[in-house]
Subunit: 352 residues, 3 copies
């Protein structure tokens, strides 16, 4: 699909790598060793993949600095092939669709919004007094409310909704149909009815955050719901009002984090995890898929289960649960043996 | 952020409360006791918060009628401070963004739709014969199908989709990217393939309902899927076809309710609960987070677990599961003791 | 609601069925036996429903070929009443809303897109070089990126987002707010930060697939994420990058399938199931609601639980878990009996 071609020597130069083989070899796409053809750049992430190198038809392979390679291959030695191939993908791969700079004539941008240098696609709306930074792309149908600030070089994919007063940093990516800044879910129960608590806070999304498709980040009741720098959130995730997520966290698809809970830095939540409200999840915590967290978790802990507990404890319990049918059998057998002993003892006593 | 200011005497008058302290004191925002400054109104919801009152810098505090307060504070006594602060938030907090009355020139409203008095935002679509009540706001990009009826004073946030023939009452709030009236999920399995069952029913959403962002309420196969008056539904919830939800229920984020199940009134489902199809969940039932409900639940019961069971039963089982590793140990020890008894008995018998 | 009427003789003719009763009887709607009135067609799916036939007020009832029916009823005998009633629903039921052929003047269609014969609704966007097949309906606010191909007779409901280069077959239905082709969730962890891996692959959706509201199908890192012919996916489902789903599968609401996992043909995932990455789920597998799958599943197996295991094994374990409180009791009792035996043995030894 890509029309670009690049030579091995040019690729080595751009990557700062060491070329071995044919400097004139041309490649135009990127794929795995198995899928690669003579026009393909591939890569060896680690020594475990080396055996597959011999059978690959790849035109060029990025390899670690010190690994042995079969003769005849054109390779480029780099310190971190997995990282370098990402750069190659950005050069050769089909680029993501771009919104051209300027304001599309069908967009509805408030006269007092500031959008200089931004890329505003068709049928986008930008509310009063909002500021969209230079290089930021708003794809078709994106809705930006009033008094929003979005930094530079962000990408908001189609039909994203950002409600009023939300603050978004630089280089943030938000995928289609995500909702940022909807009301938190808060009510007072009075006389058998639920009275809505006004949700007057907002959301702050720091630099380099990525937010998945159809994910929801609720605005705070008051104050802010905060997503820390570099944190990556997958699709269909629910972030409740007044949640604080630290830096460089990973939240996998369909997780839910309830109101006022805080996550430290470098936390990893696997898919479909739920966390109740007002908890404190420490730095570096990892929670296994499908877990339900109902208490604070200290720094560095690995938790699992419903309710989630320390992973070692969980494993011990699970081993026992699997053994349960056998235990029931053992217990029954033991009852029989004790009965036999008792009847013998009884017999002895009465018989003697 | 708010430009409004209000004096203590004016605030007391509006709330119908009793002022103690400086009637001229001016405030312009609302926050918790901890975050409050001299321009802030705060509140004491109950006696447990009273100790934090002494250290607060709040300009004015709403307190219960009969509590003792430190000298020097300006307080307003009201019967229900948590409820009163909601009113103050509506006066002083930054108001939610409003769609102005009338039809935005970029909206596409069918000529035979009735939208008098409604507030139709930019790039909204309203289908043939639909009726939008006075005071109802349709934010940017909202899609209303044909023959829809929406009552008065509703708010539909950006990019909400309401499909044809859906009925929505008064004062309903629907958050961004929610989908109301998509086809129910129903097929006949014939000759190894799934044949779609036409979903010709609709959805009825009664007065004062709130529906969260990216939530889906499917239309009925025939008849209606109904959300009862005053029920509040959080984000990313799935409501299947022909479900009936009673009045004043609370359904927390990421719950799923399968086809034809009915919930009574005042039911509370915590986050990520799933309920299978064709069940009857009674009035006042509470289901704990992450539970999977696979049978009817009687009025007033509290259920938990997968499959969900009565909470007391669940707790008993969980205590045992946690004790399992110890039980395995006990059982092993008991086997040894019985073996010893048996060998002694054996020895006695053969030895004597 | 439907204005159409049809006579019993015409209905029998169209269905290829055998009429018994009044050929001139007219009906105009479809409903269950219980809800039916004299203007209603109803149906008897199987013998278990026959007793309810006597009390039904239905004007016409579709019945199996060989069942006995009460005298006086007008019935049409067909081989598969449940299937035939679907056809009747398509004739008599209120039809789903249609987008008229042609391009609505407010749609933004790239000049080099090919949309001949397609039905493009208001405020839709279609990107450069995309091809929309004849008879395909794009409802209001749908976003089609660049280089997309969509076949014929598809229906994309409002605000669906399809990103660049996605391929969609014929007769595919995609419900509102679904997201097709957003970036997969992939990062390299380097120096404490997450580096985005470019997601240069795409999505292929084969013929006759149906995709639910607010569901996400991520594009592949490279290569394709594939949804096989005839597969039906419910609302709020997450399909990760490079997932392959076979033909005629059913994926119920709120399931999540992680990256690179493959499903065979005729797989059924009940609601809220999660499957981790890189697994192989065989043909005909069924997974119970709320299960968490963490290992490959062979063809035809029925799995359940977290982690999911063979259903028979799961049931055995669950029976034991429910019996646990009793087991604890039994164990305690047994300890007492062994103690008694030991003390007796001890007494015998020391006493004699």
């Amino acid at each position: 699909m890509a029309a670009l071609e690049i030579t091995a020597s040019e690729l080595a130069r751009r990557l700062g790598g060491v070329l071995e083989g044919d400097p004139a070899r041309r490649v135009s796409d990127v794929d795995t060793l198995e899928q690669a053809g003579p026009q393909t750049v591939s890569w060896v992430a680690g020594p475990e993949v080396l055996p597959r190198l011999a059978n690959s038809r790849a035109g060029i392979v990025l390899v670690p600095l010190d690994c042995a390679v079969p003769a005849g291959l054109t390779v480029i030695r780099v310190p971190d092939p997995a990282l370098s191939i990402c750069e190659v993908l950005r050069w050769l791969g089909p680029a993501p669709e771009q919104v051209p700079p300027g304001v599309h004539p069908t967009a509805v941008v408030a006269p007092d919004a500031a959008v200089e240098g931004a890329c505003i696609g068709p049928l986008v709306t930008v509310g009063p007094r909002s500021v969209i930074g230079p290089g930021t792309q708003l794809h078709a149908g994106t809705r930006i409310g009033a008094d929003v600030r979005i930094g530079r070089d962000c990408v908001l994919w189609p039909n994203v909704v950002v409600r009023e007063r939300v603050r978004i940093g630089d280089r943030v990516i938000i995928h289609p149909n995500a909702t940022i800044g909807a009301d938190g879910f808060g009510y007072l129960f009075r006389d058998g009815r639920h009275v809505k608590i006004p949700q007057v806070g907002t959301v702050v999304i720091e630099d380099d955050v990525e937010i998945g498709a159809n994910t929801c980040v609720d605005r705070a009741r008051s104050g802010v719901t905060r997503i820390g720098r570099g944190t990556k959130i997958d699709n269909l995730v629910q972030i409740g009002h007044n949640v604080t997520i630290g830096e460089d966290c990973v939240v996998v698809a369909q997780c839910g984090i309830s109101g006022s809970t805080s996550l430290g830095h470098h936390v990893v939540l696997a898919g479909q995890v739920g966390i109740i409200d007002h908890l404190r999840i420490g730095d570096g915590v990892q929670v296994a898929a499908k877990s339900g967290v109902a208490r604070d978790i200290p720094d560095g802990a690995v938790f699992r289960g419903i309710p989630a507990t320390d992973n070692r404890e969980y494993v011990r319990q699970q081993v026992c649960v699997r053994r349960l049918p056998k235990m029931v059998e053992q217990l029954r057998e033991l009852v029989r043996r004790v009965e036999r002993l008792e009847s013998a003892a009884n017999h002895n006593r009465t018989g003697s």
